[in-house]
C-alpha cells in the first residue's frame, strides 16, 4: 500500500466512522419518519375506496381540501389560532427571558429556568383539562369575578371557542418560547450594552438598537418552535375548543380514525404542513438579515 492511499484511507475512515456511528439512528428515522412522511404524501394523491386505497393519481383530495367550505374554515382557523398563540407566547415570554438573563444572578439562573420548565413536564392532558376548570361556567375566573362583583353572570366567551384554545396553547408552549430567547440573550456580550450607553443612547434605545437585534435569532427560533407544532395540536381544541374551536388536527384525526379516508386525511395533513412551511420560510426570509451573523 502506498502512503497516499493510506492517507486517503484515513480521511475516508473519518467519514465512514461517522456514517457508521450515525447509521442506527439515521436508519430508524429513515424507516419510521422519512418513509411514512413520503407515504402520506403519495397517499394524498390517491382515492379512498371502500376497503382499499385506489391507486390512481389524482388531485381530487387537494381540490376538496382547498374548496370545501368546512375544510377552508378550519384550515384558516388553525392558522389564525397558531399565529395568535405565537404572537402572544413570544411577546409574553420575552420579558421573562430578559429578566432571567439580565436581572438574575448567574448562580440562580438554572433554578429559574427549572421553575419555568417544570409545568411543561407535567401531564399535558391534565393541564389542558384544568384550563377548562379555570375558564368554565363555574370555573376559577368566573367564580372570582362574580365574587368581587365585577360581573353579574358568568362569562361564556372564554370557553369552548377559539379564545380558550389560544389561552391554553399559549400556556402549553411558554417554555418553548422562553428558552431560545434566553439562550440568545445569554450570548450577548454585556459590553455591547455598555458601549451602546457609552455612545449616548438611553437604556431603552440601547435595548432597541443593540439588545433586540442581537436577540433576534432566539426570537426567530422561538416563533418557529411555537408556530409549527401548534398548527397541528389535537388535544387542546378537542378538550377546550368546542365545535367552533376545532382545528386541522381534529379534522385529520376524523378522516383517519372515524371515516377511514386515508387519502383525504393525508391531503389535509400535507396541505397543513405545506402552509406551515410556506409561512415559516416567509418569516425566515423577512428576518434574513438577523440570521446572517448566525451560523
Amino acid at each position: 500500500m502506498t502512503k497516499s492511499a493510506g492517507a486517503s484511507r484515513f480521511r475516508g475512515s473519518e467519514a465512514a466512522n461517522g456514517l457508521a456511528m450515525i447509521s442506527p439512528t439515521a436508519t430508524f428515522a429513515l424507516l419510521l419518519l422519512a418513509a411514512p412522511l413520503a407515504t402520506i404524501f403519495i397517499y394524498s394523491f390517491m382515492t379512498d375506496g371502500y376497503l382499499e386505497i385506489i391507486r390512481d393519481f389524482t388531485f381530487a383530495n387537494y381540490v376538496e381540501a382547498w374548496t370545501k367550505e368546512l375544510y377552508r374554515v378550519i384550515m384558516l382557523r388553525s392558522l389564525g389560532v397558531s399565529l395568535a398563540v405565537t404572537a402572544a407566547t413570544v411577546l409574553l415570554a420575552f420579558p421573562v427571558a430578559y429578566f432571567v438573563s439580565f436581572h438574575v444572578d448567574a448562580s440562580r439562573k438554572s433554578l429559574w429556568l427549572f421553575l419555568i420548565t417544570i409545568p411543561f413536564w407535567t401531564s399535558y392532558l391534565i393541564r389542558v383539562f384544568l384550563w377548562k376548570v379555570i375558564l368554565g361556567y363555574n370555573g376559577v375566573v368566573n367564580s372570582g369575578l362574580l365574587g368581587i362583583g365585577l360581573i353579574d353572570e358568568p362569562l361564556t366567551f372564554i370557553l369552548y371557542n377559539v379564545n380558550s384554545v389560544v389561552i391554553t396553547l399559549a400556556h402549553a408552549y411558554a417554555p418553548f418560547a422562553i428558552l431560545p430567547i434566553f439562550v440568545a440573550l445569554e450570548k450577548i456580550d454585556r459590553s455591547f450594552l455598555e458601549a451602546g450607553r457609552d455612545l449616548g443612547e438611553s437604556p431603552f434605545m440601547t435595548f432597541l438598537r443593540v439588545t433586540l437585534p442581537l436577540a433576534m435569532p432566539g426570537v426567530i427560533s422561538a416563533v418557529l418552535i411555537v408556530f409549527i407544532p401548534t398548527v397541528g395540536d389535537y388535544v387542546t381544541p378537542q378538550l377546550v375548543g368546542g365545535p367552533e374551536g376545532q382545528m386541522v388536527a381534529n379534522l385529520i384525526q376524523l378522516q383517519y380514525l372515524k371515516l377511514d379516508n386515508y387519502p383525504m386525511g393525508s391531503a389535509l395533513a400535507v396541505t397543513a404542513m405545506g402552509i406551515v412551511t410556506a409561512f415559516s420560510l416567509l418569516f425566515l426570509f423577512l428576518n434574513r438579515r438577523y440570521l446572517k451573523g448566525a451560523k
Binding site: E14, T25, P36, L37, W121, S123, R127, W131, G136
Partner: protein, 269 residues
C-alpha cells in the same frame, strides 16, 4: 434595581399563569364533590382510594411503564450513537441527516402519528404496545440527542487522545473515559425521555390499538364527568412523580457539567 424590580413582578405574574392549572390539581383532588367547579365542598381522600381500585387504570399504568422504559432505553441508545457521531466526526450529509432525525421536535405530532399509522397498517404490523414504543422512540430521540450532544460536546477531545496515547484501544477508551464522563447525561436522557413517553398522548392514541396507555385512559375518562375527580387525584400523583424525576435528571445533568469542568448554561432544551 427598579428596572429589575418591574421585570421581577412581571415574571412572578407569568409564573402564576404557568402554575395556575397545576395548583388547582391537588385542590380538586381533595375536594369532596363529584363536579370540578367552585365553590369547594370540603376535604376528602376518597378519590385517591378509588384510584387504587381501578383495574383499567392499573392496566394502563402497566402499559405506560412498559412503553416508557422501552422507549427511554431505545431512544437514549439511538441518542448516544447520533450524539457521538455528530460531536466527534465529520461526515457527508451531516446537516441533512441530523435535520431528519431532529425533525420530530418541530413537526406536529399528529402528522407523525398518522404517517406511522398508515405505514404500519400498510405493511401489516398490528397495533400494539410495540407500535407505541416505535412512535415514542421517534418522538423521544431528538430530546435525547439534545441532552447527550451537550454532554459529548463538553468532553475535551484530547482526553480521548490521551487515553489512546497511554495505550488504550478505541473501545477501551470509550469504556474507561467517554462513558463515565457522559454517564450523567445518559441518566438525564433516560429520565427525561421516560417522562416524555409517560405523558405522550397522540402517538399512543393513534398507535395503541386496543391497549390503553395512561394518557389514553385519562383522555377517555374525561368523557365521564363522574370520573374526573379520580383523574385529578391521579394527576396530582403524576405531577409529583414528574417533578421528582426531573429534579433527579437536573441533578445528574449539573453533576455531569461539573464533572467535565464545564459551565452551566441552563435548562434541558
Amino acid at each position: 434595581m427598579m428596572k429589575g424590580g418591574w421585570f421581577r413582578v412581571y415574571t412572578l405574574g407569568y409564573l402564576i399563569f404557568l402554575y395556575a392549572p397545576i395548583v388547582l390539581l391537588p385542590i380538586f383532588a381533595f375536594n369532596d364533590a363529584a363536579v370540578i367547579a367552585f365553590p369547594l365542598a370540603g376535604f376528602t381522600t376518597k378519590w385517591f382510594t378509588q384510584l387504587f381500585d381501578e383495574p383499567a387504570l392499573r392496566g394502563a399504568l402497566a402499559n405506560s411503564l412498559i412503553i416508557a422504559v422501552s422507549a427511554s432505553v431505545l431512544s437514549t441508545t439511538l441518542g448516544i450513537f447520533a450524539s457521538r457521531a455528530t460531536t466527534r466526526y465529520k461526515f457527508p450529509f451531516k446537516g441533512g441527516i441530523m435535520g431528519m432525525i431532529m425533525l420530530p421536535l418541530v413537526l406536529p405530532e399528529i402528522i407523525l402519528a398518522v404517517a406511522l399509522l398508515v405505514v404500519l397498517l400498510g405493511i401489516g404490523v398490528p397495533l400494539s404496545l410495540f407500535t407505541v414504543i416505535l412512535g415514542h422512540v421517534l418522538v423521544c430521540t431528538p430530546f435525547s440527542i439534545a441532552i447527550l450532544s451537550a454532554a459529548f460536546q463538553a468532553l475535551d477531545g484530547s482526553l480521548e487522545e490521551a487515553a489512546y496515547d497511554l495505550g488504550e484501544t478505541p473501545i477501551s477508551t470509550f469504556r474507561l473515559i467517554i462513558l463515565p464522563l457522559v454517564m450523567p447525561g445518559i441518566i438525564s436522557s433516560l429520565l427525561i425521555t421516560f417522562t416524555i413517553s409517560l405523558d405522550e398522548f397522540i402517538m399512543a392514541f393513534f398507535l395503541a390499538g386496543t391497549e390503553a396507555t395512561l394518557p389514553v385512559y385519562i383522555f377517555s375518562q374525561f368523557r365521564f364527568p363522574q370520573a374526573v375527580p379520580v383523574i385529578m387525584a391521579l394527576g396530582t400523583l403524576l405531577v409529583l412523580s414528574s417533578i421528582l424525576l426531573l429534579s433527579i435528571a437536573e441533578y445528574f445533568r449539573r453533576r455531569g457539567i461539573a464533572k467535565t469542568g464545564g459551565k452551566d448554561t441552563g435548562g434541558f432544551l
